[in-house]
């Protein structure tokens, strides 16, 4: 979305939709080093912002909505500050890595509103947006627990952190809820960009009998898909599944074997950063900015869900998931958010 073509696209789009009422509200976001096309939460956030812009007749740019790309950890403060200085009414920091930076700038730029995604930051002009990843992970855990035939399930995390632990904890609880016999092997790659290690880890897990792996490891997760697809390609009848993360990762699992279209993506745990971004932007535009508050997006708030692509899940499993989802909504199940 960096290219000139793109910005033209968006501008014509918003011109086309120019029938909507004009607003002088401006909003921007600062990515972490993943960038706006990380196929993960940065991208999702940007999609949300674009949708918000379109809906409200904003143009991409300083007078509408805009993203700032961070190339380095040291760029966070700079970018957030630059955004504030360019008079954006609301500035999102995407990713927990930006927490400190948001806090710091928010304390200085008191006229601007800020929001942090995936973390909690202090400040009256800061809204903290977190997700109940553990809830969604619980649901895919249910899918995994019911799908596994070997009773061995893997989890590949990127770098160990509170956030990634939330995924692991919810997942584990989900599996245990439906399949107490299943073993869960939780591993961390120590890296979000090491596909090679991801593939090695997946090879070790599948090789020792696991048949479902849930990854929360960014680019390292690429390797998990690669290994699964390889195994599936060699033996289309073999049971190998990957559960995607953050967005619907069905495309990542597609392959062709013996002329047959297959897919190793069992399902994905979807985190709707886009919805959260739109939501908070709307509130801010309407003068109801939730400054100082922590907004948790879970299943209830449509912030967390299981992916739309569910072709690989049987109806029974879908029903089970549905029922657990209801129990979570009803508060009958309290999903743990830390590994203990």
């Amino acid at each position: 979305a960096c290219g000139s073509d793109d910005s033209e696209d968006t501008s014509t789009d918003s011109n086309a939709g120019g029938t909507e009422e004009e607003s002088d509200f401006t909003v921007s976001m600062v990515t972490d080093t993943g960038g706006i096309d990380d196929k993960s939460f940065n991208q999702s956030a940007w999609e949300g912002m674009q949708a918000f812009g379109e809906e409200n007749g904003l143009e991409e740019g300083v007078d509408g909505f805009k993203y700032f790309q961070s190339n380095n950890d040291a760029d966070y403060v700079t970018n957030i500050n630059t955004a504030a200085r360019n008079d954006f009414d609301l500035v999102f920091g995407i990713g927990f890595l930006l927490t400190e930076a948001i806090e710091q700038v928010a304390a200085q730029q008191t006229d601007t509103n800020f929001a942090i995604v995936d973390s909690v930051a202090e400040g009256d002009n800061v809204a903290s947006i977190t997700f109940k990843e553990h809830e969604g992970s619980f649901l895919v855990g249910v899918a995994a627990g019911l799908t596994t035939e070997s009773d061995k399930i893997g989890f590949v995390g990127g770098v160990e952190s509170d956030l990634i632990n939330k995924f692991a904890a919810g997942f584990k609880a989900g599996v245990e809820a439906v399949n107490p016999d299943a073993e869960i092997d939780i591993q961390f790659a120590g890296d979000f960009n090491n596909a090679s290690r991801g593939q090695q880890m997946a090879a070790a897990m599948y090789g020792s009998g696991a048949d479902v792996i849930y990854h929360a490891a960014g680019g390292t997760g690429n390797g998990v898909f690669t290994e699964a697809k390889n195994l599936k390609q060699q033996d289309p009848d073999r049971q190998v599944w990957v559960i995607g993360v953050d967005r619907d990762q069905a495309a990542e699992g597609a392959l062709e074997a013996d002329g047959e279209e297959l897919n190793v993506t069992l399902t994905s745990m979807v985190k709707r950063v886009d919805i959260a971004v739109q939501d908070v932007s709307k509130q801010a535009m309407d003068g109801e900015f939730p400054g100082g508050e922590v907004i948790e997006y879970g299943i209830e708030e449509d912030g967390i869900s299981i992916a739309e692509t569910q072709d690989n899940l049987s109806q029974e499993i879908l029903d089970e998931i549905e029922s657990y989802q209801q129990q979570i909504l009803d508060g009958e199940i309290e999903v743990p958010s830390t590994l203990e």
Binding site: V62, F96, L97, G190, F192
Partner: protein, 347 residues
């Protein structure tokens, strides 16, 4: 081989050529180079805020450049600046958090901790090279990865209570400068730049003005002759790595105590250490050169952040420009040759 005028002229020409070719790349891919460079300039030097940010960027580049350059001058190739920087960073933060002391003691202590940690991290490849002749390039590359994993572990399990970041270092150990922040409209500029400039001066003095530097350079050029002259070659190899690592560690301390003020879990390398190789080489491995090269890097990298905002040009353009500048500086022979040709032609 080159005269004085050329040593100044060649980098200038290289930078001009780099920018020129960058402009061509922009035109070819449908951007307006004037807008692009305008944005770059504005985003690095156009406002006091950006100037502050640029200066802050330059700070670690100076140290990383000095670290690589120091090793180079003494015949060693330190690709491990990245790792040494990380351990220096975390060590300085650790000391910053662990003690409660008056600033006059605490800050120097935290900075020293960064230098010492970097030095220790570089001591390992140094001693392996000196004692066992293990190639420092391999060891320093490997030590980078080890540092990354170790530091992440320390942040999470030792310095913090299973958090993603450590606490902020207290004021007594902080390089943050409310004065500069106010002056530059809340940029992250901190006092580190002065330490970096002091570092460059110290670099110059150690290497060019002390008898230790004499030895280090001598060993760098010719180990046999140095041994003949009674110098302890192995000791100098270790010392060189240690000083190089100390510079890198100081770079880390600038980040830990200044730019950030805390330590955090790194998903990947920051790249500053690798950029340091380019800074050092661009600066001809001399102190003033390193400072100037770091300034160029800082300006380009900082400006690159604003470029997409103002002109739509992808930030990567800057990497291309940097690459071309490095290429031409490296090929200074041909530039000097052409210059001579040109001069002759004119006469």
């Amino acid at each position: 081989m080159f005269n004085r005028a050329q040593t100044i002229l060649i980098p200038v020409i290289s930078v001009a050529l780099g920018l020129l070719i960058g402009a061509v790349v922009m035109i070819v891919s449908g951007y307006n180079p004037i807008d692009g460079y305008g944005a770059l300039l504005k985003g690095s030097l156009g406002e006091t805020f950006y100037i502050g940010e640029t200066i802050r960027q330059i700070t670690p580049y100076i140290f990383a450049g000095l670290a690589v350059a120091f090793a180079f001058r003494t015949g060693l190739f330190n690709i491990g600046v990245e790792g040494q920087l990380l351990v220096g960073w975390i060590a300085s933060v650790w000391v910053g958090l662990a003690f409660d002391l008056p600033k006059i003691i605490h800050l120097p202590m935290a900075i020293a901790a960064g230098a010492i940690a970097g030095a220790l991290w570089a001591f390992i490849p140094g001693i392996l090279k000196a004692r066992l002749r293990v190639h420092e390039v391999i060891v320093t590359i490997m030590m980078n990865y080890i540092a990354l994993h170790l530091v992440n572990y320390l942040v999470r399990y030792v310095i913090s209570d299973e958090q993603n970041t450590t606490d902020r270092v207290p004021e007594s150990a902080s390089l943050k400068s409310p004065f500069f922040e106010a002056l530059t409209e809340f940029s992250t500029m901190h006092y580190g730049i002065f330490i970096a400039l002091a570092g460059a001066i110290i670099y110059f003095i150690i290497l060019e003005k002390t008898s230790t530097g004499f030895e280090l350079r001598s060993v760098g050029f010719n180990q046999n002759a140095s041994e003949y002259a009674g110098m302890n070659v192995n000791r100098n190899i270790v010392l060189s790595m240690v000083i190089s690592g100390a510079f890198a560690g100081l770079g880390g301390a600038m980040e830990g105590l200044g730019t950030f003020g805390y330590g955090f879990i790194h998903g990947a390398f920051s790249g500053v250490g690798f950029d340091g190789i380019a800074v050092a080489l661009l600066g001809g491995n001399v102190a003033i050169g390193v400072v100037l090269a770091a300034a160029l890097f800082g300006i380009l990298k900082q400006g690159a952040l604003i470029m997409p905002l103002e002109s739509g040009v992808p930030t990567e353009l800057v990497e291309i420009v940097i690459a071309i500048i490095i290429f031409f500086v490296a090929s200074s022979y041909i530039i000097a040759y052409l210059l001579q040709r040109f001069k002759k032609g004119a006469q």
